[in-house]
Symmetry: C2
Subunit: 305 residues, 2 copies
């Protein structure tokens, strides 16, 4: 199943002509999830060929404007396009108040069901689960309540070794093998053995999104052995004091988190607009964690590459 | 004094890749006023070389998202840039509630004075006045409370005919002439006559902004003999029934308003994205009012040209 991340914005808080604050679209097969929704997200969805009607769920990390001010416009646009399907929104409960107030003053009620899921106080909690994925929240250390999100693929069925399968095997027996059950004859002997006819399922992939946070080494165990980690790196190492003051991370701290957690690949973003050479920030991170890339707007990254 | 309008967005409610909903910057000399503030306005200010710190006042017509959802991001950006000067905001009182709620959940207090002026219930009221300009509100007919804004230049002083001025004339006497007072000799005879040494001041210029509104002929008398009128034209004439249902205007209705009011020049905007050929809408308006132009994003129009 395709598991890809499109960066719709990866700049710091101040938008530039061609750079926008945090917004991402994570796609698992045909399922589309938005993660944060900075101002102008609608235009960037269009640029990246992502139709807004495909979005099933939106996850908002926290209520600083650079992470959600494009949401209200997107909700209105879905309304003007007469969306019918449910839209699920996972966010701090304050966002429900904000949306309600905007709608009240616009004299509008959305024509589609917007199902609001306030983020729980207990971190580490599973907030969403379907056949393929689990979504848990990750504790961020920020000036206001803020969470990250961990999207983990669920264990799939065993994979059949097709050229070893008997031609006359029934669908029922195939189902038993994929579920890990040997098929027995009437006398109790083994007719088809799981270990002969199946492979292990694909290794599980996961994507961890760590939005605005001060460095916290205890986070590493919660995202251990991930496939892809996005971690904010607002400041260069020399500005570590500014990072502390503002509850943000430096390049090396983001890289340290990738290393500590055993993640395969790191993307860094949310770089402050004060730095004119993002490549130099990238090099700082790569000294600690070589498999680091810049999260670049309008680029697509595969989870588990 | 330069009196110019920069269009920062003139599309309908749905943003496109290169078209944005309503936002304008009106400049009188060095004074910058924003009129409506759709999503992404910060980027378009930058594109048009308008520094946000120069904006003194913001006027918001109504609380439909396509007219104000870029405001909150702009307020935050001014905060991050440590603005010190006052910012005045004229809008429906609901906007103060919305801003307060966003700030509460962001855990932020703006570092500059944001002075909120709720729009009065009495239409036609002067809401702002300085040495050069008067700003009045215009009644719009829309689904929710909505106003237009009329910016009228004040009568300036008389203009001196420089080559007729005596070389030894004093500053005091010049001031008297500009204010329309003859300068007398001690015996009561006329020393300098206003009619000999001055011209009339420049003719007064005005800009009327008519945002979302159903056609209302009684509006014409309120903007009579204006220099420049921006009027929404959401629908083509053939869709007049849709215009009625949604409290909007057609191309011909916008043109009719320009004609009835004796306005010199008309700009039309807020064209619905359903029309793929804006020129055909322009032609409809020009049949009734030839001096009509499309309000084009990132273009500058002179008031009183």
């Amino acid at each position: 199943m395709e598991f890809v991340l499109t960066i719709l914005g990866s700049g710091g808080a101040l938008p530039g002509i061609d750079t926008n604050p945090t917004a991402q679209c994570l796609r698992y097969g045909t399922h589309h999830y938005l993660i944060d929704a900075s101002e102008g997200i609608q235009t960037r969805l269009t640029k990246n060929g992502i139709a807004h009607h495909k979005i099933e769920r939106i996850f908002i990390s926290h209520l600083h404007g650079d992470h959600y001010l494009g949401l209200m416009g997107l909700l209105f646009t879905m309304h003007l396009h007469r969306r019918k399907t449910e839209l699920h929104l996972h966010a701090h409960r304050g966002l429900a108040e904000i949306i309600t107030l905007h709608l009240k003053h616009a004299g509008s009620a959305l024509c589609y069901p917007l199902i609001f899921h306030p983020l729980p106080e207990d971190l580490g909690t599973v907030i969403f689960e379907n056949k393929h994925l689990l979504v848990e929240i990750l504790p961020m250390q920020h000036r206001i309540p803020c969470v990250g999100f961990l999207f983990t693929e669920k264990q799939g069925p065993l994979k059949l070794i097709k050229d070893r399968l008997p031609k006359d095997i029934s669908i029922e027996h195939i189902g038993m093998l994929k579920a890990g059950q040997d098929v027995l004859n009437a006398d109790g002997t083994t007719k088809y053995a799981v270990e002969d006819l199946t492979h292990s399922p694909d290794p599980l992939r996961s994507y961890a999104f760590c939005s605005d946070t001060a460095f916290d080494p205890t986070l590493a165990s919660k995202i251990s052995n991930g496939s892809l980690l996005y971690h904010e790196a607002t400041f260069a190492d020399e500005d570590i004091e500014k990072a502390k003051e503002t509850w943000h991370s430096t390049t090396s701290q983001a890289a340290q988190m990738a290393k500590l957690s055993g993640t395969k690949q790191l993307l860094i973003g949310h770089l402050s607009s004060r730095y004119k050479d993002p490549e130099s920030l990238l090099r700082e991170a790569q000294q600690i964690f070589p498999n680091t890339r810049l999260a670049e707007e309008n680029k697509v990254y595969t989870v588990g590459d």
